[in-house]
């Protein structure tokens, strides 16, 4: 979402006259370096340079800035500058030629592999495999050894040694193209295979090929220089940069300049080529976003992936000042003031929680002022459509938002303000008092480690002596019957088993609050019911609080005491589960219920709520649900309603006030129509 959006925005802002590659600093630097070597090399015949092969024994090893010799002379009195320019010309020429030959032959082989069918493909690719089993330099060396030294043979050897690389890459790209619709269309139109290859495949292959050539040109130059360095390439009096280096080696201690300078030219040339190659790769990559002056830097940084250690301090730094007005500056330790009044304080108290995501036009609030209380042992559901901010809310309770997202507000666990905690203290809470079970258990388990290892390290994270023993833990989540489980890898388990392991990891230290983020969504229905039953039992038996995030109201009804309905970053309804399910007050809750299939009522007509929640940053000024609300009135557009107590009809249900503590964010809540 944000990447495409920011790309579009960035292009909109940029001056249209500036070509896109000019905004890639690497590519610009690369072109500059390349020009530094390439332009003189191309212009060598017309430049006023001395004859590079003209020896003058009397003038050998003249220092730089000598009369007529800007960079001095070499061991035979030849002008060094002239030799560098002509040598670079030879090196570039040979490198380019080798690249073109390797690309041409490789393309033919790769296309043949992709087009000629299974047997030809298998044969060609095994051949390519065998050639790739050689260190390429060695293959080139063997070829030159057989053909005899010379710049032409060296070029040919390097080209041959690189053919397999091109063949494999082209085959891969061509196979992809082969399965495209337009190829099938061309066939149906009666074009022959060769015509299709020429007209459809080659043009589509061209960008890949160009990229491959640019990225390999650097190697090719280095490799041909290497062969020349060994005396197998350019033969005197002809010279390329490699052979100059090789010949200058003898004078390294006395006149280092003669060997060092040709190498320096190679480095400048190859750095330039590689920078241009990288730039080209970025420019051909649709995901690449050009850097804008000023704001662009921030956006790139924010969009970058998380670094474990770097992310936490950044988030803290960004969040703390904003949180300060809300948060009490004193951080309570466990057993401090917070524990003293634990009876009247809820286990979790969240106030004014806000999560901002980076966007091209500046940060937008995806979670916008959420308040919630969770009592000890209470099971609360947080429901809403995808994109309402449920997962961000859940993650922000642990302060585990993805990089770039910034949270504000107050999150207190037992009176301890989590927003004010240092990274180390926060780490001491995570997994021990607060635990998290994600939607996809594969994201909770590292695929590279055995299940037993991950259980052990989690148990040891806060001291294994306070943690449940592994067998007890496995029994708790109903995995004790699985033979050999600790020795297995996550991918060797079924989805249900994985989710049970994820639960076991979360429960290892008997947390006070378990946050389950769509923890059953990825499972099939029977497994889902088992896990739900397990969750219910675990919380009921051990007095553990549960925040159950889900988009599915049917699942919620069997598990939770209370339901919070979230829409567009806000809580819109907060009600006891029974009351909410029977008599929703907010039209959005009613719409969600209408879209939920009910067990035992197969003929219930499912209504679909059209549209989607507004993207963060694009919320309407009035009620956020108004644009989709079936009961919308003009008054709904006049400012956003607050989350206010909702009295309902004050009926009693199982001896309790049916609507106790109920709140709704709607000016025209649904009345009981029965």
């Amino acid at each position: 979402m944000s990447r495409d959006a920011s790309r579009v925005a960035a292009e909109g802002i940029a001056t249209p006259a500036l070509p896109v590659w000019l905004r890639h600093p690497g590519a610009v630097a690369g072109l500059g370096l390349l020009a530094l070597v390439l332009l003189p090399a191309l212009a060598a015949p017309v430049l006023p340079l001395a004859d590079p092969a003209q020896t003058a024994p009397a003038q050998r090893m003249l220092p730089a800035l000598s009369a007529g010799h800007l960079l001095g002379t070499d061991q035979l009195g030849r002008d060094l500058l002239s030799r560098l320019v002509w040598g670079a010309r030879a090196s570039i020429g040979v490198g380019v030629l080798a690249t073109v030959i390797a690309a041409l032959v490789g393309t033919v082989i790769g296309l043949a592999g992709a087009w000629l069918g299974r047997w030809a493909d298998a044969l060609l690719m095994r051949g390519v495999d065998v050639l790739m089993a050689f260190p390429y330099l060695l293959l080139a060396l063997a070829i030159v050894a057989a053909l005899g030294p010379g710049l032409g043979n060296a070029m040919l050897a390097i080209a041959v040694a690189n053919v397999p690389f091109f063949a494999r890459a082209v085959r891969g790209a061509a196979l992809e193209i082969r399965h495209q619709d337009y190829i099938a269309a061309a066939r149906l139109a009666g074009h022959g295979e060769l015509a299709i290859l020429a007209r459809e495949v080659l043009p589509n292959l061209a960008p890949t090929l160009l990229l491959l050539m640019t990225t390999t040109l650097g190697w090719m130059v280095l490799e041909t220089a290497g062969l020349s360095f060994l005396g197998l390439g350019a033969q005197p009096p002809a010279a390329d940069l490699g052979s100059m280096l090789g010949a200058g080696r003898e004078f390294l201690t006395t006149y280092p300049r003669v060997a060092v300078l040709p190498g320096l030219v190679i480095v400048v040339l190859v750095v330039g080529i590689n920078l241009v190659g990288d730039g080209l790769r970025d420019l051909l990559d649709p995901r690449w976003v050009p850097r804008r002056p000023g704001a662009g830097l921030v956006a790139t940084r924010a969009a970058g992936p998380v670094a474990t250690r770097a992310a936490a301090p950044v988030a803290t730094r960004a969040a703390t000042p904003a949180a300060a007005p809300v948060a009490t500056p004193v951080a309570h330790g466990r057993g401090g003031t917070g524990a003293a009044c634990a009876d009247d304080l809820p286990l979790l108290r969240v106030r004014g929680l806000e999560v901002r995501l980076p966007a091209p036009s500046g940060p937008v609030a995806a979670v916008d002022g959420v308040d919630l209380d969770l009592r000890r042992g209470e099971r609360v559901a947080l429901v809403g459509e995808s994109g309402c901010g449920k997962t961000l809310t859940a993650l922000s309770l642990l302060r585990l938002l993805p990089a770039g997202a910034v949270q504000r507000g107050s999150v207190r666990l037992d009176g301890t303000e989590l927003m004010a905690l240092a990274a180390r203290d926060l780490q001491a809470l995570r997994g021990r008092r607060l635990a998290y079970v994600p939607q996809e258990p594969l994201t909770a388990l590292d695929p590279l480690f055995r299940v037993g290892f991950q259980i052990d390290e989690t148990r040891r994270a806060h001291g294994a002596d306070t943690a449940l023993a592994t067998p007890a833990l496995l029994r708790l989540v109903g995995l004790s019957g699985v033979a050999d489980l600790p020795r297995r890898f996550p991918h060797e388990l079924s989805g249900g088993q994985r989710q049970r392991v994820a639960l076991a990891l979360a429960l290892a230290h008997g947390p006070d609050l378990l946050i389950a983020d769509e923890a059953t969504t990825a499972l099939d229905v029977t497994v889902q019911r088992e896990i739900l039953a397990l969750l219910r039992r675990l919380c009921a038996e051990q007095g553990r609080a549960l925040l159950f995030v889900s988009h599915d109201l049917a699942v919620v009804s069997t598990l939770c005491d209370r339901v919070l309905v979230m829409y567009a970053g806000r809580i819109v309804e907060d009600a006891p589960a029974a009351a909410l399910l029977r008599r929703p007050a907010h039209p959005y809750t009613a719409a969600l219920l209408g879209a939920t299939p009910a067990l035992g009522r197969p003929h219930k007509a499912l209504s679909v709520l059209p549209g989607a929640p507004p993207m963060p940053g694009t919320q309407p000024s009035g009620c956020r649900f108004a644009p989709r609300c079936p009961r919308v009135q003009p008054v709904c557009h006049a400012g956003e309603p607050d989350l206010v107590p909702y009295a309902g009809r004050g009926e009693a249900y199982q001896g309790q006030d049916w609507d106790e503590g109920r709140r709704v964010r709607c000016r025209l809540p649904l009345e009981d129509e029965a």
Binding site: L245, V267, P305
Partner: protein, 323 residues
């Protein structure tokens, strides 16, 4: 042994056969008629035919290849013209120093590259990251032979800290020096040549490692390790590092190819008594059997290293499917 290991070992047979076929085919590229080259232009047709039969040149190519292969299996790589001794003997004698050089370079390059890549990823888009990115770019753009010359010039010629050439100080060898003194001496000789190769390998490994580390550190399963209360250090050094290693392992295998091939330059510069220098000398002397033998042995070593890195990758990540 797991099925994967057995499969990989079995796969080794066709690959090595293929390698020998390629080496054989390349040597068949030699222009002209070997018999004519040996006997000179005035030989009679009868003598030429006789010599061709003796050299096996009248046989079809596959029979000659099989014959050569049979010899290899018996440890016979032919006789070197320039050294006047069996090729196998000369090659094996030089293999040790080359493997020592290549292994040291690969190890150094891997450690340096991984450290640089991880560091850059941790400091993503900050000064350290840019510095590493620049160093890595230089690493992949520098000719190893030039780097070797610069290192030699700086540390051996100007500063005089390290020896400029050879593998041991001659008077130490066989001079009754202790094993410890000898090891230190070889290590001092080894440092510059292996560093010349390692810095280039580190460039490639660091480049791939940085990308892999960025990917791994952002992956949910690594990020969510924090939800379990694991320390940042543990997440980095256990979870992220293993993920990065698993991704970088094939590149380390490729770099083994670079290091084994690059040994040719570096051994020439530093007068390292290895197989690479033997090859250069053999090419200069047009001693084709020696070239053939040396290339075959180095290529086989590379195949074996790649087998090892494939297996290491499989050990790191069991999801890797068998080929």
């Amino acid at each position: 042994m797991s099925r994967y290991v057995v499969q990989r070992l079995l796969l080794l047979v066709p690959v090595l056969l293929g390698v020998s076929l390629v080496v054989f085919a390349v040597m068949a590229l030699v222009p002209g008629d070997p018999a004519l080259a040996i006997l000179g232009p005035y030989a009679t047709p009868e003598r030429l035919a006789e010599l061709r039969a003796a050299l096996g040149l009248d046989q079809p190519w596959w029979r000659r290849w099989l014959g050569w292969l049979g010899g290899i299996l018996q440890g016979d790589l032919g006789r070197s013209v320039s050294l006047e001794r069996p090729v196998a003997e000369a090659v094996l004698e030089r293999l040790g120093p080359t493997l020592l050089l290549a292994a040291t370079a690969l190890l150094l390059g891997t450690v340096l590259g991984l450290a640089a890549g991880l560091l850059a990823a941790l400091r993503h888009n900050r000064a350290t990251d840019r510095l590493v990115t620049l160093a890595v770019l230089l690493g992949i753009s520098v000719p190893p032979f030039w780097l070797g010359l610069l290192l030699m010039l700086l540390f051996a010629v100007w500063l005089g800290w390290l020896p400029a050439s050879g593998m041991v100080t001659p008077w130490l060898w066989g001079g009754g020096a202790g094993a410890m003194a000898l090891t230190v001496d070889v290590a001092r000789h080894l440092l510059l040549p292996s560093l010349s190769l390692a810095l280039v390998a580190a460039g490639v490994i660091g480049r791939i490692g940085r990308g892999a580390a960025l990917e791994v550190l952002a992956a949910d399963h690594v990020r969510l390790c924090r939800a379990r209360g694991l320390s940042a250090r543990r997440i980095l050094l256990v979870h992220a590092l293993k993920g990065v290693l698993a991704r970088v392992m094939p590149v380390i295998g490729l770099q083994a190819g670079f290091v084994l091939g690059g040994a040719v330059y570096i051994e020439t510069i530093f007068q390292w008594p290895g197989l690479g220098r033997l090859l250069v000398d053999a090419i200069a002397a047009r001693d084709l059997l020696l070239v053939q033998g040396g290339v075959l042995v180095l290529a086989s070593a590379y195949v074996l290293v790649n087998l090892a890195t494939d297996m290491a990758q499989h050990a790191l990540d069991r999801r890797t499917a068998a080929a």
